[in-house]
């Protein structure tokens, strides 16, 4: 049974023929579209390494069936920078040492972008930590991650207000 789906991935329309309905969105990105920035950690929704934005919302791509997401708009870590200019969240992770080995980092960054978009955490570090609890970091870079998220949120808010003014 061949299943044909169409996705927008990082702004580019991709038509994919699936020969198997079991393919997750994570495996589709990594194995079929060669977008290996999104990481496979636990593959069971517990670590957050596979976090991507689907229609603007962060989800675990390992627990999403690709075929069920026909027509979706996907943003992965490969799509967040503008050319050589890093996304503010990427820059903040570097500035605040929000990583050590880096394996969880694409998921952390996508989750942080989703968190800032959701707008629920404000400038409360406790709310940021709670809202990032779906992303595990085995190196324990959590304090840098929290600082990076707060800093990136400030610069994105300033940029937005600057545009509005």
């Amino acid at each position: 049974m061949n299943l044909s789906i169409s996705l927008t991935v990082n702004g580019v329309r991709r038509n994919v023929e699936l020969d198997d309905p079991r393919v997750t969105l994570l495996d589709l990105l990594r194995e079929r579209l060669d977008l290996t920035g999104t990481k496979k950690g636990c593959d069971r929704g517990q670590c957050g390494a596979c976090t991507v934005l689907v229609n603007g919302r962060r989800i675990n791509s390992c627990l999403a069936l690709a075929v069920s997401h026909d027509g979706a708009d996907i943003l992965t870590i490969e799509g967040v920078a503008r050319g050589n200019e890093l996304h503010p969240v990427q820059a903040a992770f570097i500035a605040h040492d929000g990583l050590q080995c880096g394996f969880c980092t694409p998921g952390q960054i996508m989750s942080a972008i989703g968190l800032i978009e959701e707008g629920q955490a404000g400038d409360d570090p406790e709310r940021v930590r709670e809202a990032m609890s779906g992303n595990l970091c085995r190196c324990g870079a959590y304090s840098g991650i929290t600082e990076a998220v707060l800093d990136a949120q400030r610069s994105l808010t300033d940029a937005k207000q600057g545009r509005a003014a």
Binding site: R44, G45, R57, E130, S133
Partner: protein, 352 residues
């Protein structure tokens, strides 16, 4: 993962017909189902994708003052709906205390109600499990069972229902709307999940093809909004299932409790409504003594199913503390650590 047929019906009646076949299951977000399928715990032959069914993603105020929540509303959208959170704050707090932000963005209302137990022996296909394979036994009985049920369990199964969301819902008399082969019917949420008895594989009263299409809260559920809390003990601060949880809602008039609603989570194969405790509270003035008596009544029938005697005392303390928090009044906003006993709320008991 075993292979399966994938179908995506366009109407509810087509979905019901497609899912009534043996081996067929519904797929919504898949956050629980795909996990179970990857471990071969669930081996469906057909997935009926309901995510594109029209009209099931709405939150509607009803003319009688109640609210109707479509089965495909995402957990995060419901918790962050300002009107919903204002009227049913304990439900919003319970939702935000569950899973992670990513999972809440995907997981649906209907899927939350129908999520499977987190018993490790159910998940481990090398273990005996009467729920997964009827008649094979229960390795949890002699195994690692400190988190298992203390109410309503049987010799054949000691698993718990893991939902947070369902706990305040059952306290507030939520009703489930079901579309089946014989048409539409309604079931009280309290009657949706079954206790294990000698058939733990039958987890709900749903039959083949039955589809939960909506959840309703009656008009009087919002009357508890000023004094409503959900409290959840976990083995880590966030992104963990409940060891024990409690939902408490009070209607207080002139210092006396006019109506009380109480339910427990993590203690049984279903969200556990504590009606005897509610009766003790009715008419009483708020305070520690009557709260403790109510908590003792709620757990009067409890007995350990293994190495979990501690959960009985823990559940009573959490119930008392949830009542004290509810009596103090619902906070303006869900706390930074939703439902956490470690939230630094003024007046909170620190020994519970």
């Amino acid at each position: 993962m075993k292979n399966f047929d994938y179908v995506r019906p366009a109407t509810v009646s087509d979905a019901v017909a497609a899912a009534a076949e043996p081996g067929a299951v519904y797929l919504a977000a898949g956050t629980n189902l795909l996990d179970l399928m990857k471990g071969d715990v669930s081996r469906p032959t057909r997935l009926v994708d309901v995510t594109r069914l029209p009209g099931l993603d709405r939150i509607e105020r009803l003319p009688d003052g109640g609210i109707r929540i479509g089965a495909l509303v995402r957990n995060a959208d419901l918790a962050h709906d300002a009107g919903f959170a204002r009227s049913y704050p304990a439900v919003a707090e319970a939702l935000l205390s569950g899973a992670s932000a990513q999972l809440r963005n995907a997981a649906t209302v209907g899927g939350n109600l129908l999520q499977r137990t987190r018993c490790g022996y159910f998940f481990d296909i090398a273990s005996a499990c009467n729920k997964r394979e009827p008649g094979t036994g229960c390795d949890a009985r002699g195994g690692e069972n400190r988190l298992h049920a203390v109410l309503g369990w049987s010799e054949s199964c000691i698993a718990t229902h893991p939902s947070d969301f369902c706990v305040p819902l059952v306290a507030l008399d939520a009703v489930v709307e079901i579309e089946g082969r014989a048409g539409r019917r309604e079931v009280a949420l309290e009657a949706l999940h079954r206790l294990p008895g000698d058939a733990p594989q039958q987890e709900t009263v749903l039959g083949p093809g039955d589809l939960i299409v909506a959840l309703r809260l009656p008009a009087d559920a919002a009357a508890f909004a000023a004094h409503a809390r959900y409290l959840k003990v976990r083995e880590r601060t966030s992104f963990a299932f409940a060891v024990v949880s409690a939902a408490a809602g009070l209607r207080i008039e002139r210092g006396r409790i006019r109506h009380a609603r109480l339910a427990l989570g993590g203690v049984a194969a279903k969200p556990w409504r504590a009606r005897a405790a509610e009766e003790i509270l009715t008419g009483a003035s708020t305070g520690g003594d009557v709260f403790r008596r109510a908590a003792e009544a709620a757990l009067a029938e409890a007995k350990p199913s293994g190495d979990n005697q501690f959960k009985i005392e823990l559940a009573q303390r959490i119930l008392v503390r949830a009542l004290m928090l509810a009596a103090m009044g619902t906070p303006e906003r869900v706390p930074a650590l939703p439902a956490s006993p470690f939230s630094s709320v003024a007046g909170a008991l620190t020994d519970a």
